[in-house]
Symmetry: C2
Subunit: 338 residues, 2 copies
Amino acid sequence: MTETRFDVLAIGNAIVDVLAHADDAFLTEHRIEKGAMTLVDEARAQRIYDGMPPGIEISGGSVANTAVGLASLGGRAAYMGKVRDDQLGGVFAHDIRAAGVAYDTPPARGGPSSARCLIVVTPDAQRSMNTYLGAAVEFSTSDLNADAIAAAQVTYLEGYLYDPPEAKRALEKAAALAKTAGRQVALTLSDAFCVDRHRADFQNLIDNYVDILFANEQEVMSLYEVAAFDDALQAVRGHCAVAALTRSGAGSVVLGDGEVHVIDAEPVDELVDTTGAGDLYAAGFLFGITHGADLATCGALGSVAAAEVISYFGARPEVGLKDLMAAKGFMVRDLMLS
Amino acid sequence: MTETRFDVLAIGNAIVDVLAHADDAFLTEHRIEKGAMTLVDEARAQRIYDGMPPGIEISGGSVANTAVGLASLGGRAAYMGKVRDDQLGGVFAHDIRAAGVAYDTPPARGGPSSARCLIVVTPDAQRSMNTYLGAAVEFSTSDLNADAIAAAQVTYLEGYLYDPPEAKRALEKAAALAKTAGRQVALTLSDAFCVDRHRADFQNLIDNYVDILFANEQEVMSLYEVAAFDDALQAVRGHCAVAALTRSGAGSVVLGDGEVHVIDAEPVDELVDTTGAGDLYAAGFLFGITHGADLATCGALGSVAAAEVISYFGARPEVGLKDLMAAKGFMVRDLMLS
């Protein structure tokens, strides 16, 4: 097998987040489902935005955040996702490249504008997301760079991209290209409602292609239509080599190699905004797995990266994660203090 | 005289700030003047942006921040400034209106894109600003709403708008309209280099129209071409009814009614980003002066509002300033706890 150029190549919705604080009454007034990611059309996005308090704009997108986290750990990260050639698209491309992630998906020259996610953060630090996908849904097989996929240890797929049929085809093709090249495929289920929309397709994808599955407890319970976390834990065995199941403050459970690891959450001084916790958990975990760490260490790296991102507003790391992990003494290649 | 509809109507450059952390080497490499606001053309803005780390976008603009601060204090604020009908222009308009400021300057339908200010924050919490003015420089007399000016207790002018000749004419006309209506005119000198570019014109404006002058020590020293702060203090007497001269951590000096008040800075727990300190000082001061406070109280309101905004990233208040001031026990109309 040829050398890899990337540890992880992530493919997902390229989104700029618009974050604002509001109280629960705002959610009720705008019929926003608390804690969920809801797809909205442009008209509804505009109505919610019109009612929102002043916000800040930060580049986001679930697996894009993971790619940025991986780069911050010193990993080699690449990203594919679609924006338009408008101002928010330019902001997205600038930010992900400036974070050290290889990104060269050509922007759309016409059609819907760049995707944005209107995130309302309530006083309990929960985030409720309203996503206008815009140009992101235009992602198609023609945007896949087969050479980059073959050159990545892990191709990491965002479940959200199963919503647009063209993008779903592109993810399936990317998974097949990665396997043909002898590489690994990882998947995040993204959101319990997303699983509900694509349950059978996700099960097929996992059974046929996925080596490493990321899901939170609601997502994995939805996937196997069970009511208890432990039932989901038992159900996922045998469907993929590794599964990392996150449980917010209760930490995570990692399955693989016939082992089960129960990993504690990393304590945080102040919980500010949970946006990006799962994305950064995946960054830590994937860094570990592509750098020879055992599964328990992969989970611990995920916990520390997640704890870092929830201690402030926004879904991308503000500190150099490599230094943070090295200071915590992780014995992982490329992380140890020299 | 008819009733007023606004306490303060602010006129300035409508700008979206792009903030990122970088070290001093970045300033050196890009030949950026530390601590200053430098005007850049679109090509240079693009080069700096290309080199910048990932950023966050927050609506800004000096006197726009003041208008937002005034609204946060419970004051009646209005704003005039020019954006284009692009995405960043939409973000600016949304944010200032969502903050409770009346804003109805029509966006330009063509020409340069909306203004942005690339702000590099170094580890010492200094901010170095590179402003691409874009659509903001298209502000002209045709954008003035004479009824709104006549209905505002104070029309507050941003010195930066003296750079584009059309906008300079618009500010002078706004000042004349305010005086004709029997209202007050306030001016911020904005930046010592800006004073250098327009010294004689600013002196004329102050002598003929300005009731309340805001300047930091570098700006007022540049205005009268003196080398010591006290010399500037003596020089400004007699040129305007009230002058509020800010000195960063050394507080401020307020002149007016034959009095001189030396006001302490409000202590801050952690200095994060000085962006907006002067803008919010003006918000507190103008709230006081339009609500019957004495000059010492106006200065103290300015100090508290400035201290609030420098304790985090960005130039607009994150907490309700009205509650903050009320909790601090200020005896000012519309601020006292009921």
